[in-house]
Amino acid sequence: MAEEEIAAAVELQGLTKRFGADVTAVDSIDLRIEDGEFFALLGPSGCGKTTTLRMIAGLEFPTEGSLRIYGEEMGTLSPNKRPVNTVFQNYALFPHMTVLDNVAFGLRMQKVDKAEANKRAQEAIEMVRLGQMAKRKPNQLSGGQQQRIALARALVNRPKVLLLDEPLGALDLKLRQEMQIELKSLQREVGITFVFVTHDQEEALTLSDRIAVMHDGKFLQVASPENMYERPANRFVADFIGQTNLLEGTVEDAETVCLANGARVSVANDKAEGAKVAVSLRPERINVHALDDKPDGPSLEGVVSSVTYLGTAHSYRIAMDWMEIEVREENRPSRGHFNAGDSVLISWHSDGVWVVDN
């Protein structure tokens, strides 16, 4: 590594983890997580997120590849010697210790003077707004409170990198949203690099600076939330991040794709001529019109097969003879809505679509 280059918080090169001969949980991944970043590892169950995180923490050693934390090769360094701390999925608070002893544990293990450790632990507990709970045992706290204590127990050590494995997974929706906001502002406050594992794409989009989408032990795309949503690298990512309609077709030229039903639509793309692709149309980017309404831009004809009222929007399923498309249209009082059985035209702005490899 060049001297002047700032070391990445976490740098993975060809990192691989195999369990036995047949299971490759993590398959040669490369990644640079920058200092101070809020980074999300996103993917479906069993794709290797936890294994990746555990390798960074040192709870699992890589089969192959290199893992650096702020430029320092970790190799098989044991977890207690790494400048990282983990918030475990089920918190893993020590049940026989008080909240204060739990939070002070890491400091005491680092031989911080006892009074000092207790003082800093108390401050950390106050930071997560549970000051009065210091004398309690973990089983006397609610799930959300335990979650915050787990956070305080990790953060009090001022790790260089904080690893979080689905920390909000066990909480109900309301609490989860509250904690998301808290987590984000906490991260800004302490300025520590966060590596956050989740299988909830919405959570990843709202919280993180960058996201890596993982599938079968590999990274499919590493990008900012906006890039991930607007310019997914492939079909899997397009489908996994947010909702989308994937219209299959063939590339005619850099401006045109011929859809499976023969309709030719103009979308800018950088794929080779004749390539099999899918056009990703987000439900909220599609407009619905009555047949006699002449929309500008590309349009397709179909019949509304079902209507669902969502409060802020109406969701339509629109049947065409070759596929069904999902459309979400925001409600405005001045505008009516379509009913099942109506023949309609759907249209979109050409900058609202994206072409992915099929």
């Binding site: 990282v84 210790m97 544990f105 293990m109 680092q110």
Partner: protein, 304 residues
């Protein structure tokens, strides 16, 4: 509250009667034993008025006292040793991977499966062979004494202790140890401050079980004890062959009370651990300052 699956009518009456019969079957002998230990008549089975003579005889009888002392020594020493070894074995099997683990696992539980008599004969043969070898090599004349009884009791107690401790280890969330090492604890400190406090109830349960089993054992002690190292159960067994006397009743009652107390203690230990507020001794405050576990009021109480 009765649910639809509660028995009714005849089956209910039958089950109730059965329960009482079982209790009668269990406790009638015990009641008889206790009652006749206070009987003034030399013949067991004939009530001769209330007396404490047999207990006085028990307190004065040097043979009984000697046997009791042997039993206590054997129980305490064999328990201490087997708790340490049994806990280590449990840790090795639960937390580490090594060659021959499965075999070691299976063999460890052998003493529980094989009959006492077999075990006793095995041990007897082992000691005589072993003594022969040692005697001829070192020119000593070793013989069976209290240490052979202790070694034999350790041999079977290790299995029981490790089973109990292992159950506790299995039930413990392994992520706690990972969390400890993530929080800068070395392997030893993770054990000391996280694993050990978690398995204390298992260790205590194992220790009480070992104590009880050691105090109960007749068969093995009979085979491997030498002159002067007769345990109390063996001594009582010998007395019976000479004829039943109320002295035996008195001795048995004492042993019974001791066993019941031990069982109650072990139940108490288990209950406390279920309450999850088992206190963790804070003796670590002195030898090393890093971690105090348990709330301060509890720790002050437990320092004693």
């Amino acid at each position: 509250m009765s649910s639809t699956t509660d028995p009714r009518g005849f089956s209910k009456a039958f089950l109730t009667a059965n329960a009482w019969l079982v209790y009668l079957f269990f406790y009638a002998p015990i009641i008889l034993l206790v009652v006749y230990s206070f009987s003034g008549d030399k013949l067991v089975g004939r009530w001769g008025g209330f007396t404490l003579d047999w207990y006085r005889a028990f307190a004065k009888d040097d043979n009984v006292q000697g046997a009791l002392w042997v039993s206590v020594q054997v129980a305490i020493v064999s328990t201490l040793v087997s708790v340490v070894l049994g806990t280590l074995a449990a840790l090795a099997l639960e937390r580490f991977k090594f060659r021959g683990q499965k075999v070691f696992d299976a063999l460890l539980y052998l003493p529980i499966i094989i009959p006492d008599v077999t075990m006793a004969v095995m041990l007897l043969m082992f000691f005589s062979q072993f003594f022969n070898v040692i005697d001829s090599v070192l020119g000593l004349t070793l013989s069976k004494d209290i240490s052979t009884v202790i070694i034999s009791h350790i041999a079977f107690n290790i299995s029981f202790v490790s089973i109990v401790v292992r159950a506790r280890l299995e039930g413990m969330d392994q992520r706690l140890e990972e969390a400890a090492s993530d929080l800068y604890a070395s392997r030893w400190k993770a054990f000391r401050f996280v694993t050990f406090p978690q398995i204390i109830p298992g260790i205590a349960g194992g220790a009480l079980l070992a104590l009880t089993l050691s105090l109960d054992d007749v068969v093995i002690a009979q085979f491997v004890s030498g002159p002067g190292s007769t345990t109390l159960p063996v001594y009582v067994f010998g007395l019976i062959r000479k004829g039943v006397s109320p002295l035996i009743n008195a001795v048995s009652v004492v042993m019974l009370v001791a066993s019941v107390l031990l069982v109650m203690l072990s139940l108490l230990a288990q209950r406390n651990s279920e309450d999850k507020d088992q206190k963790v001794n804070d003796e670590n405050e002195d030898d090393d300052q890093e971690v105090s576990s348990g709330s301060s009021s509890l720790s002050e109480m437990s320092i004693n």
